[in-house]
Symmetry: C2
Subunit: 218 residues, 2 copies
């Protein structure tokens, strides 16, 4: 693993296992694109909060959204946040408790979230979100009303202060421990999509679109 | 869904979709027990951080651990944290963009993290962690050294300020939209374990233990 790009700031600089770190845009983007599921941390009255949500990337910006009444979005807009995306790829089983680990891909983004205020831009961002996951779906849907758009807040953040951290491969045991008769290895984990579960209220004859039938992340 | 237990504090009280909320111990515990993967939010210099890690529960306490040099653990010990566990169970595809949603189970825990200082208690907690996921493994491993134990920090928190939020089932569309010929339904997601990948350096004849062969969460 190369490390051509230095940490952009002190808080992105990896303290532990820094050899697992990457700071280049491709490394960050590939993790953001691998799953929409993320966690946003924010501060209210000096105290930390972590809320799971869904993110999407356009160029070098990341976006997330929700109800305009959301405490998370209100506490994030115009404020410092930390957005984390982590994919857990496996449990790493070593010969000592100490060297047990997890294989993962994690991206940590810092910055100040901004609210997408312009209605046209907000609509474009939301369309890009839906189309990014489900190509062709936006135009199949009942169009959003003005009221629905007002009730939705979109936040965005430039990806200019971020770190990726990745672990892959077998355990790294103490050399002497490889002589021990202990099973070691990796238990791989992945997200799987089960067959779609159609709404019982779907109209007769409505076909399952390809963006559902062939759905996958990334 | 019943709501017999009120929110323990104002910050645990759900603002949005409060009908999805549960505040009783069984609801919280069942989510913590369903996956060890969690995110811990903490504050450094007034700014939020979210770090993915692994949690385990013993009775009404939750624990997490890492290197004693970890920035996350040092910034959490004796300080306010928010620990979140979220399982994403499916994408909810509605007839309007607005009503698209996610099926999930999420537990949000607030409190002050404490460091497990007593060496015997620390060892007992770490053993419980390994045994909870992989029954029988602790005693098969090369025992931890004093130095390894010193290099490991265990943090704990009483589960006394927590909220669970759960969404299940099909989309909830506007009544008029059910007349539209749009495919709606749920795309179920689950974590899957692939066949274990033995370390190429395993000794000849070392058998895969049952806790690997039959591994599952919860």
């Amino acid at each position: 693993m190369t490390q051509n790009t230095p940490a952009p700031t002190d808080r992105t600089r990896l303290r532990r296992m820094h050899e697992r770190g990457q700071y280049d845009a491709d490394s960050i983007h590939s993790i953001l694109d691998a799953t929409p599921i993320c966690t946003v941390a924010y501060v209210i009255d000096g105290k930390p909060y972590a809320t799971p949500t869904i993110q999407w990337r356009e160029g070098n910006h990341v976006y997330w959204h929700g109800s305009s009444a959301s405490r998370m979005l209100k506490a994030s807009a115009g404020h410092e946040v930390c957005l984390n995306v982590t994919l857990t790829d496996g449990f790493v089983m070593a010969r000592s408790a100490m060297h047990h680990s997890v294989n993962y891909r994690s991206a940590m983004l810092f910055g100040t979230a901004h609210k997408v205020e312009d209605p046209d831009e907000k609509a474009a961002r939301l369309k890009a979100f839906v189309e990014g996951l489900f190509p062709g779906r936006w135009d199949m849907l009942r169009p959003p009303t003005t009221q629905e758009m007002k009730a939705t807040t979109v936040l965005g953040m430039e990806i200019d202060e971020a770190a990726a951290k990745v672990r892959t491969g077998p355990p790294g045991d103490d050399e002497a421990d490889y002589a021990l008769p202990i099973w070691a290895g990796v238990l791989p984990i992945r997200s799987e999509f089960l067959p779609p579960d159609p709404d019982p209220r779907n109209l007769a004859g409505v076909k399952m679109p390809d963006h559902i039938r062939n759905f996958q992340f990334g």
